[in-house]
């Protein structure tokens, strides 16, 4: 997969936990254009290991001079976001993938309801530019914990005017999904990005009201989780390797020199799916891609986020 070499042109502390990074291409050339809702995967060299984390592009899709990504510091994670917050400086260089969009706006929509929770606001910032440009009807509903965590509120108010609605949990303001979705005109599409319980509650409310699946869109990137180490055998490459506690299976496969397919690295897109030939324990699925039946079958694994609780697992790669 081809990569873009970028360097950090500016860093802004947006809230206590959120930093915004402006990325420009290393050689000063323009970056590829993209559509609202796209993300890139950052390859970060942390203590000699390459971590690859997906982040939504939140800059304007019309701007190819630089890309903007925002990172929320996740203390209980494997360190990618902490590294971004504590180690990355103006001038730092790393590689990113070309933009990929797994959260695109439906071209058939007549109205769009955008629902963001916390840092889940980021994909909507690029989508709003597209919606304003195409003069498509929309509403943005942005929920966050407390006033000091309302990242980008002023920019959003400026971009969206009275289309934006803010919900501050510490003031007791919550989004009532049933209320929000029950009287929307035909042709409305709803998009949600945020914490898992919020995403699930929104999807459940829409389904209960009879919204067709094609009108319900969500993006949930799962970060790879820390877990017990286990051994993997790649049946086709005939390689055996160990997945350490703080590395994802996909990262361990890459470290072993195998060019495994991937796209989102967040358990959303399905590109990295591997067939499980044998496993002497159980698979711990963390992705949002496989169906429950597929997960229960134990025949498939998404190595970007999922792990195994076993001694040995054999996959067809």
């Amino acid at each position: 997969m081809s990569h873009l070499n970028v360097k950090v042109a500016a860093i802004e502390q947006v809230t206590e936990y959120v930093k915004h990074f402006t990325l420009v291409s290393e050689n000063g050339e323009k970056l590829p254009s993209f559509s609202g809702g796209s993300h890139v995967v950052l390859a970060l060299n942390i203590k000699g290991r390459i971590h690859r984390n997906p982040y939504s592009l939140m800059s304007s899709p019309l701007n190819t001079e630089n890309y903007g990504v925002s990172v929320r510091k996740q203390e209980l994670s494997r360190g990618g976001s902490v590294f971004m917050h504590e180690q990355i400086e103006v001038g730092s260089r790393f590689q990113i993938t070309y933009p990929v969009n797994l959260f695109s706006l439906s071209k058939l929509s007549h109205k769009n309801i955008l629902i963001a929770g916390g840092i889940g606001i980021t994909p909507f910032l690029s989508q709003i530019v597209d919606l304003n440009r195409t003069q498509t009807d929309y509403e943005l509903h942005y929920a966050y914990r407390s006033p000091e965590h309302g990242a980008f509120r002023e920019e959003i108010q400026e971009m969206c005017g009275d289309r934006s609605h803010f919900y501050v949990a510490s003031d007791g303001q919550l989004i009532d999904f049933n209320d929000l979705l029950s009287e929307q005109p035909l042709g409305t599409h709803v998009y949600v990005c945020g914490p898992e319980p919020m995403v699930n509650a929104m999807i459940a409310a829409a389904r209960e009201l009879g919204w067709p699946e094609k009108h319900i869109h969500n993006e949930q990137f799962t970060a790879p989780q820390i877990g017990e180490s286990f051994k993997v055998k790649l049946a086709i490459s005939n390689i055996e390797l160990e997945v350490p506690t703080d590395m994802s299976m996909l990262e361990a496969i890459e470290e072993a020199g195998v060019d495994a397919p991937f796209l989102c690295r967040g358990g959303a897109c399905g590109r990295c799916e591997l067939e499980v030939v044998a496993c002497d324990g159980s698979i711990i699925h963390h992705d949002n891609y496989l169906t429950d039946a597929e997960k229960n079958s134990g025949k498939k694994i998404m190595p970007c986020v999922s792990r195994a609780k076993c001694q040995n697992i054999v996959v067809n790669l």
Binding site: H110, L181, E183, P185, E208, G210, P212
Partner: protein, 200 residues
């Protein structure tokens, strides 16, 4: 008819079934589509609002309008023809919200006329339940002169626009509500395969 392979654009029609999760139900039927409506009424009736549009057609086998009206007079409005029903449907769609379920039954031409009205309100083809009733007659789009010939029952038809003899394919345009028709004797003028009634 194509064999050995499957044209993905060819629509597949099923039997109408009420959706359990819904805010309202809109049933739109024409002619023999009345039978599909009667089959719907034999299922557990929804708790949500039901509204129906039924268009009479001289082609239909039975007078379904009277039967439907005797069963659920308040919910269904009967129209003299498809155009009146479509006009009334179009004028009422703005009142409906997301969560409204759509059920359409009748000839293929009628089904896709309704789908077009719904599409203008952002309702996608996939969101509409469709039951084909009464006839397999096709509308055929001439790829040469772009005219559409309606009510085609045979595998080969004379184009009403350019008089070419068109072979009726399974390739279907949802936007036009018509199958693709190609000149059948372009390479060997006058060499016309046997013409059969295949879409009764």
């Amino acid at each position: 008819m194509e064999r050995q392979y499957w044209i993905r654009s060819k629509p597949v029609y099923t039997s109408l079934l009420w959706h359990e999760k819904a805010t309202a139900h809109l049933v739109i039927a024409e002619g023999d589509g009345g039978m599909a409506v009667l089959k719907l009424l034999q299922q557990k009736y929804p708790t949500q609002v039901v509204r129906g549009f039924y268009a009479k057609s001289s082609d239909s086998l039975k007078n379904y309008a009277d039967i439907i009206s005797s069963l659920i007079p308040d919910e269904f409005t009967v129209f003299a023809n498809a155009n009146d029903a479509l006009k009334s449907l179009k004028n009422s769609l703005a009142e409906y919200h997301m969560g409204t379920r759509f059920y359409v039954a009748g000839s293929e031409a009628f089904i896709w006329q309704v789908a077009k009205e719904l599409y203008d309100f952002g309702v996608q083809d996939d969101d509409i339940e469709k039951e084909l009733c009464g006839t397999l007659a096709r509308s055929v789009y001439c790829v040469h002169c772009k005219a559409i010939t309606h009510n085609v029952h045979h595998n080969i038809v004379n184009c009403t626009g350019c008089q070419r003899k068109l072979f009726v394919r399974d390739h279907f345009s949802r936007r036009l509500g018509a199958y693709m028709g190609l000149m059948v004797d372009a390479e060997q003028p006058g060499d016309i395969p046997t013409i059969n009634e295949v879409y009764p």
